[in-house]
C-alpha cells in the first residue's frame, strides 16, 4: 500500500469562504470525516484531502473553483468514489470537489431519446427512470448501482454490455463544464451537429484533468424486446477463450461475453453469493443476446454449438428471468466473493486483441505461480478486456512487492500481445508508470499540451494520467 503524505489542514478563512458558497453542510474539514475520502475503489493508495466541498449547482462549482484558483489550491473532482485507478486520490493536499449533491435528472426527453443529468446521478438510477418509457442508458459498469454518471464521463466507463452497445463516449452528446478558472463552457449538445472539433469526445475519459462536468446530455436507446442468456462450463479458461473466438468468428454479436475463471468460481461458490457453478470447473462463460424476440433462440443455439465445439462440458440456457439472474450471479458477485480469498486485491484492466486471449491468460497464470500469488480472472472476453485480480494481504510487505512485480509483468505481456494498459478503469495514479509503454514521448507531450489548453494552471486533478514529475514540479513546468 502506498500512503501519501497527509496534507496541511485547510485554513479556516478559506473554509469559511467555501461555506459561504455551498452552505455549512457542503464543506467537510474534520479529519475524522475526511477519512471517507482517503481512497477510491483502489484502496491500494490512500491520502487525505485537505477538505471536501459539495456544491449543488454549476454556479456553485464555478464559484468554488474561482475561489480555489484565487487561493492557488489544487482540486480533484469525485463522484461516488468507485473508481479503480486512484484517479480521485487527493494527492498533495488537494481539495475534493464532490458531486454527491448534484444528483438530479434535469430532463428526460423521451421523444428525442435523450436525458440531461447532473454528474452525481447514479448510473442505474437513470435507466430506472427511463425504463417506463421503453428506453435505457446502455453503458453498465459493474458498479452501476453505486457509480455516478459524472465518474463514468471522467473514466469513459464500459461494462459487460458495451460489447454490443459501445462505451460511455458514444452516448454523451453534450456537456456543461467548469474549468479550473471557474469559467463555464458548453460543449456540444443534442441540438448541435456542427463541424467544430469534438471537444465532448476529448473531455470524456479525461479523468477529471480538464475540468468538472456539471451537466451531462446523454443519448438513450430502446430497451431490447427480449434477452437470452446461456452459461458454458469449461475444463479450462483457454477452452472458454476459444469459444469466444468461435462465437465472434461466426458473425454473432452478443450483448455480453463474460468469462469467470476457476479461482473465482471457487470463491463465489464458497460464499453467500453461491451461484450453482460447478466447483471443479476450469472456467465459465456467460453469453447473452438481446433484441427482437424472434430469432434470438437460434442465436443462443448457435452460441451453444460454439461452446460445445470448443470443449464445453455443459451448457445451461436460462428459461426465465430468475434463471438468467442465477447464471449472471457468479459473474456479478465475483468481486464481492474474492474477499474470502484475501483481504486485498489489485485489479488490472488491460485489453488485448480477442484472438490473443488464450495465450495471454496462460501467461498471466504462470506469472501468478512464479510470484506465489493467487490471480483470479473475471473479464469482458468479447472485447478482450481483462481483469486479473491479484489477491494479497497489504500487511505482508513482501507480498505487496510481489504483487507490484507481477502486475508489471502482466502489463508487459498484454502490451506485447498488441493490447493496451487500460480498457475502462482509466490511468489515474496507478497506471501512470505504464503510459510510456503505450504512448511515444511525442504523444505524451501532445497530451500535456492538451491538458494545458483546458487547465493552464495545472491545478485540476494534478499528478494523474501523465507519467510526469510530482505534480508540484509538473505545475511549475506549465
Amino acid at each position: 500500500m502506498l500512503t501519501l503524505d497527509s496534507p496541511p489542514r485547510l485554513e479556516e478563512t478559506l473554509a469559511r469562504r467555501l461555506r459561504s458558497i455551498v452552505g455549512d453542510k457542503g464543506v467537510i474539514s474534520d479529519p475524522d470525516r475526511l477519512v471517507v475520502y482517503e481512497s477510491d475503489g483502489l484502496t491500494h493508495y490512500r491520502c487525505l484531502p485537505s477538505a471536501v466541498v459539495l456544491p449543488s449547482s454549476t454556479e456553485e462549482v464555478s464559484q468554488v473553483l474561482k475561489l480555489l484558483q484565487a487561493e492557488g489550491k489544487d482540486f480533484v473532482a469525485r463522484g461516488s468514489g468507485t473508481g479503480l485507478s486512484g484517479g480521485a486520490l487527493p494527492v498533495g493536499g488537494s481539495v475534493i470537489v464532490g458531486t454527491a449533491r448534484m444528483n438530479q435528472i434535469l430532463e428526460l426527453d423521451v421523444e428525442n431519446r435523450r436525458a440531461r443529468v447532473q454528474p452525481g446521478v447514479i448510473n442505474a438510477h437513470l435507466t430506472q427512470a427511463t425504463l417506463p418509457h421503453g428506453l435505457i442508458y446502455a453503458p453498465d459498469p459493474s458498479s452501476q448501482s453505486a457509480c455516478s454518471l459524472g465518474g463514468n464521463i471522467a473514466e469513459n466507463s464500459g461494462g459487460p454490455h458495451c460489447l454490443k452497445y459501445g462505451v460511455t463516449t458514444r452516448y454523451v452528446t453534450g456537456l456543461t463544464v467548469v474549468l479550473s478558472s471557474g469559467d463555464i463552457v458548453q460543449l456540444g449538445g443534442a441540438q448541435r451537429d456542427d463541424e467544430s472539433p469534438d471537444l465532448v469526445g476529448l473531455f470524456v475519459g479525461s479523468e477529471g484533468c480538464f475540468g468538472i462536468a456539471t451537466e451531462i446530455e446523454l443519448g438513450l436507446i430502446p430497451r431490447p424486446e427480449a434477452v437470452r442468456t446461456l452459461l458454458g462450463i469449461f475444463e479450462s479458461i483457454e477452452d472458454a477463450g476459444r469459444a469466444v473466438s468461435e462465437i465472434m468468428a461466426r458473425g454473432m454479436l452478443p450483448a455480453a461475453l463474460e468469462i469467470v475463471d476457476a479461482a473465482t468460481i471457487r470463491a463465489v461458490e464458497a460464499s453467500i453469493f453461491a451461484a450453482g457453478y460447478p466447483k471443479d470447473a476450469g472456467a465459465a462463460l456467460v453469453v447473452e443476446f438481446d433484441g427482437v424476440d424472434a430469432g434470438l433462440d437460434d442465436e443462443v443455439r448457435k452460441a451453444a454449438d460454439c461452446c460445445e465445439a470448443s470443449g464445453a462440458r455443459e451448457v445451461r440456457i436460462a428459461a426465465s428471468g430468475e434463471e438468467r439472474a442465477a447464471l449472471w450471479a457468479g459473474r456479478k458477485k465475483a468481486f464481492g466473493a474474492m474477499g474470502r480469498l484475501a483481504p486485498d486485491l489489485l485489479v488490472q484492466d488491460a485489453t488485448v486483441p480477442r484472438t490473443r486471449l488464450p495465450e495471454v491468460l496462460k501467461e498471466i497464470g504462470e506469472i501468478g505461480k512464479r510470484h506465489g500469488l493467487l490471480v483470479a480472472n473475471v473479464f469482458h472476453a468479447g472485447d478482450g478486456n481483462l481483469h486479473p485480480n491479484l489477491l494479497f494481504d497489504r500487511r505482508d510487505l513482501a507480498e505487496v512487492e510481489r504483487v507490484e512485480a507481477a502486475s508489471n509483468e502482466i502489463m508487459a505481456v498484454c502490451i506485447e500481445a498488441g493490447g493496451t494498459i487500460t480498457g475502462e478503469h482509466g490511468v489515474g495514479l496507478d497506471k501512470r508508470r505504464y503510459m510510456s509503454l503505450v504512448c511515444s514521448d511525442e504523444v505524451l507531450d501532445a497530451m500535456r499540451r492538451v491538458k494545458e489548453a483546458f487547465d493552464p494552471s495545472g491545478r485540476c486533478n494534478p499528478g494523474k494520467v501523465l507519467p510526469d514529475l510530482p505534480h508540484t514540479d509538473n505545475r511549475e513546468a506549465t
Binding site: G134, G295, G418, I421, M447
Partner: protein, 433 residues
Amino acid sequence: MNQPLLETDPTRVLDRVAGVIDRAAVSESDGVTVAAPQTEMEVSDLLSVASEEGWKVLPQGASIGPPKYRASPRGEGPRFSPAPDLVISLLGMTEIVDYQPADQNVTVRAGVTLGAIQSLSSREQQWLALDPPGGNEVTLGGVVSTGLSGPLRSQYGRPRDHVLGLTVVDGGGRVLSLGGRVVKNVAGFDLVRLATGSRGAFGVITEITFRLHPRAEADRTFVWHQGDLGEGWDLGRSLMVPRVPVAAVELLLGRWPSPLEGNGARIVLRLTGSEAAIQRTVDFLSEVAGVPDETFVAEASEAVWLAISEGLGDRRVTFRLHTLPSRGRSLAPALAATPFERLALHVSTGTFRGTMADGEDLEALFGLAESVRGLGGTFGMRGVESGLAIASEPEPSPAKARILRQLIRAFDGSGVLPGAWQERWGASVSPLA
C-alpha cells in the same frame, strides 16, 4: 500562428516540395502546388518544410477542395477564403496495412477508399458500417477527417465510433500514433476523438485502424410512398418506437438515382439482423404504416443506400442542417421553399442533407438557415462551382474559443494546418454566424 497572410511564391513552393518528395508526385492545380506523398515520412517532411516556410497546407482526399469564399447566411458575405499554398493529397497512400478478420479490425492508409474496404471485408462476411455522402469512392482519410456519417449512424454511430487508432502527422511534422487496435482503450486523453472530424486542424491523418462489424444474416429495405414532406415526416416519426430497432430510416424527397426512381416523398427504412427478427419487425411496421410499397433484399437493399450516399456526394451545392428530431417537422415550410434537387431527412437524429443545382438562388438557403438557427440548430452549405461556403454555427464563448486556440497551437505551432488559417470555429478568426 495567425501571421499576416503573406503572398507565397508558387515557384518556391514547387521547388522546395520537389526537393522533399519525388518530382513525379508533385503537380500544380489552379496555381497551387499539389504533393502526393507515398509514405508517412514524406508527409512529415512536407509539413516540416511547410512549418519552416509558414505555408498554408490543405490535406485532401478525394474531396472537392477548399471553398473560394465564405459568407454569412445573414447576407454579410461573401468574401474570399484564403487559398492554400500546398495541397497534400493522400490519394497516393492506398495500402491496406493489416486486416485481422478474427479480431474484426483493419488498418489502412488514408487514401484507401471505402469501397476497397467493403470489398475486402465482405469476403469474411464483415463490413465497415459507415455510409457517408459520396458513396464508395470517398477515401477513408477523408471520412475520418470530416467525421461525416450517413443513415447508418442511428444504429452504428459516426466515424468516431469506428476508429480504434490513428496515425497523424502534426503541423510540425511530428508523427503521432494514437489509440491502438483494441475496442476498449482509455490509456490517456482521447486524441483519436479530437482528430476525428477536425478537418485536418490537428494534423494530417495518414493511417487509420477501424473496427469492423459482422454482416447480418439478412438485409432488407422497405419503401413507403407519401404525399408530401409533412406526411412523410409524421410517418417516419411514428415508426420511431422503441420496439423497432432500425438500421436506418430516411425521408427522401426530390429526384434520386436508380433504384430510387420517382419524385415524391418516400420513407426508406433498413432492417438488418436475422430473417426471423426482420419478418417480425416488418409485421409490426405494416400495422403502423401499411404494407410497404417496395421491398429490396440483400444486394438490392445495399444498392438503395449506396444510391442515397452517392446522391448526396456528387459535386453540386450541398447543404446540411441539424436540429432535435422533434423539431424537424417545423422546418417543413422552409424546406418546401428551398429549390432543392434532392433531400434526405434523417428521421431518427434530425440531420437533414440536400443538394441544389449550381446556379439556383442561394439566397433561398439563407431563409432555411435562419429557420434552423431559430430552432437552435446548425446549418452548413457549400457550392462547388460557385466556391461559396456558409457555416451557421454559434459563436463560441471566450473560454471555449481560448481552448480551441490553445489546442490548435498544441498541434500546429506554426499555423500551417487548416484549423489555423481557415475561417473556422472562432479560433483563428470569428465564426460566420
